[in-house]
Amino acid sequence: MDFSLTPEQERLRKEFDDFFKEEMKNAPPGWGGSLEDMYSADEGWEFHRYMARKLAEKGWLVRAWPKEYGGQDASIMEQVIFGEVSAYHKSPGVDVFGIGLLGPTLLAVGSEEHKKEYLPPIARGETMWCQLWSEPNAGSDLAALATRAVREGDYYVVNGQKTWSSGAHRGDWGFAIVRTDPEQKRSRGLSFLLLDMKAPGVTVRPLLGMDKTHLFNEVYFDNVRVPVKNRVGEEGKGWDVTKAMMNFERTNVGMIFTVKRGLEDLIEFCKETKRNGEPLAKNPLIRNKLAQIAVEVEVGIALAYRIAWIQEKGGPAAMVEAGALAAASKVYGTELNQRFSYVGHQILGPYGQVKKESKWAPLQGTIESGFQQVQGMCIAMGTSEVQRNTIAWLGLGLPRSWDEVFKRPMAK
């Protein structure tokens, strides 16, 4: 085994690091790097778009993509390095949905037309996307979705409601999974559509978070006309596209580096802040808690590297392994963010609840916003419960659902 980076990788990391260090000086006041910071206030969104363009200029926005669509065919390891440096510096710019989800999906299962039409504007940092999946009665159980799309000539007419669509109020385009054949149940009869968020009949309503930030939305479709050519995959086979999209197993390295950075800032605070005449950093209980987070951060990074390594090797067995590991890194990473938030809140004491607009807010209020936003991380993109179910299934060979259990004869 060899855990070292190549000199080229080290050089790249430094280049990324220099770039972000410099560019992050342009962040708006109180910037904390969360999705809420990016989508909620206009300054945040503008900064995101600014960074997207800057990264596109550098050719870094979609490094992993093929050159012909604006990428650099970069290795997974290089993406991981980019991801960690970017997260460490709390940089926005990389559209979670367009670059993280849609791009790889189109590259894997999209038509050449789709790739040519949609990928280059993403690569240039121009088009921003959102995801239109969950519905009021289809959360973890996405296949229960009910939004209808009825074919009329060259169009689908879409009616229904999506919810929990992060950043839908900012997105130029959205990808949706809808029911084209109501006769079919659950994951059958679904289709995958790309739709213009400015199309007539699309209404976006905010769902404010408990800290009043605007990240999530409800999206209503009232006779929205979507050209048939905007369908990805065959009609009725939308679930395959959805599954493909879910199967890009993430290393989740970014969410670990977010904590790494947060921890460093918190450590700095503890060194500078005296309570009862002594720096917080000298309090043995606080040292123990901070060290525990540091342990968990390094453990999380090691796990993310393992996933990247498996992906780099590829192959079907590796993909099952990566599937379980990615589920593990999601639940591990989000619960680590949660534990970090709670530790931060505890160490800051009454100051942990002060909002960033106050002069009394330490660490730019990141702990205050953090402990309210972190719950969403454990729920969005597959709840912790769903991730553990995936591990039981892919990692341990246990049944995926009760229905599966009940199909078997009773055991003696």
């Binding site: 959360g139 404010l208 809140h345 609840q353 309210q372 729920i379």
Partner: protein, 377 residues
């Protein structure tokens, strides 16, 4: 031993629950959170009319002479409903010490006005040092003739921005023992030199910065003996801590019931989510935390009410109940999924309070250190 409430107490609970759910639905809670004042004058008047502010005050001061446990029941219901109001500040933090340590003159001046809802008070205790020990008290009051002159900054003083009077914990002498030299003063909030402003916090619960610049207070407004104020603070912190535990009991119970109801109506995969063992285990653990919190709180409340030595028991209750309340609300959000983390859902009201109250009057580690000392460690 008798671990039941009296019939009167059960009636008080029922009427309080009815009143609050009618007068203060969660939409109102959210509106009051957003408002500058953070409470409804109208509701405050009605609460006074119901006798809540004077619940534990003797009849001679306009109260109804109830016992501490009665107040606890009311607070449980307020916690259950997340009532935004200066009740805790006024009644628990200020009327109780005035009742126990005030001169007859002070009692006559303050208590009837509190009882009839005319006067709102706020305790100015914490400072930027953010510790609940006597050594954290640095705001100075110096005796000049027949007046104390206060200078310094208090922080996290709930409801100071709407208070008529502030109960201010000041340092009047410096010595080797930080518990010596502390004096409590009743300060007219409109005195020149007092500036109160709300610090924006997660729970939107109107914690204030209060700046004192050469604020003059007549000597007769001293509560208790000069330099001996820490004893009053200790006693009021005991009362306040278990009272806050009671609010958390109410909040925890509401959060648990809400989660359990949701588990019985939310369907995923064709099944109620409460049918899933994962969710059942979450709820069972929340239930255990709730029941254990209940009994340890009542025991500490009883000791505080009986004025028994209870330093250890109060700290035990706070260390346990605030962790339990955090756990219950956190799992509550998780059970609700995305809807639970929104501004429009009630669960967030409880979740945000859990984190606010966790650090109020000392967090679990603070209280465990108290317990350690009590164990002779």
């Amino acid at each position: 031993m008798n671990l039941d409430f009296t019939e009167e107490q059960e009636m008080l609970r029922t009427s309080a629950r009815d009143f609050l759910s009618t007068e203060c639905p969660k939409t109102a809670v959210r509106e009051l959170e957003e408002s500058e004042e953070g409470y409804s004058k109208e509701m405050w008047k009605k609460m006074a009319d119901l006798g809540w502010m004077g619940l534990v005050l003797p009849e001679e001061y306009g109260g109804t002479g109830g016992e501490f446990m009665d107040l606890i029941i009311l607070l449980e219901e307020m916690g259950r409903n997340i009532l935004p109001s200066p009740f805790f500040s006024t009644v628990v933090l200020c009327s109780l010490p005035i009742l126990e340590y005030g001169t007859e003159e002070q009692k006559k001046e303050f208590l009837p006005k509190i009882a009839n809802g005319e006067m709102i008070m706020s305790l100015a205790l914490a400072e930027p040092s953010a510790i609940y020990n006597a050594s954290g008290i640095k705001v100075k009051a110096s005796l000049q003739g027949d007046e104390y002159v206060i200078n310094g900054t208090k922080l996290f003083a709930h409801d100071a921005h709407i208070a008529d009077y502030l109960l201010v914990v000041t340092r009047t002498t410096e010595g080797a023992n930080p518990q010596e030299g502390i004096t409590l003063l009743l300060v007219d909030a409109k005195s020149p030199g007092v500036t109160s402003s709300v610090v924006p916090t997660a729970a939107l619960d109107k914690q204030c910065e209060v700046i004192f610049e050469d604020v003059k207070v007549p000597r007769k407004n001293m509560l208790g003996a000069p330099n001996q104020g820490w004893g009053i603070v200790k006693r009021l912190l005991e009362q306040a801590t278990v009272a806050k535990c009671a609010e958390m009991l109410g909040g925890g119970q509401a959060a648990l019931e809400m989660s359990n109801s949701y588990a019985k109506e939310r369907v995923q995969y064709g099944r109620l989510i409460g049918d899933f063992q994962t969710i059942q285990n979450y709820l069972a653990n929340m239930w255990i935390d709730m029941e254990t919190s209940r009994n340890i709180t009542y025991e500490a409340v009883w000791m505080v009410g009986e004025k028994l030595p209870c330093t250890k028991e109060v700290s035990i209750a706070k260390a346990w109940v605030s962790e339990a309340f955090k756990f219950i609300t956190e799992r509550g959000v998780q059970i609700h999924g995305a809807i639970g983390m929104t501004r429009d859902h009630d669960m967030g009201l409880y979740y945000r309070r859990a984190w606010a109250w966790d650090v109020l009057f000392g967090d679990a580690d603070f209280h465990k250190e108290v317990v350690a000392q009590q164990l002779g460690l």
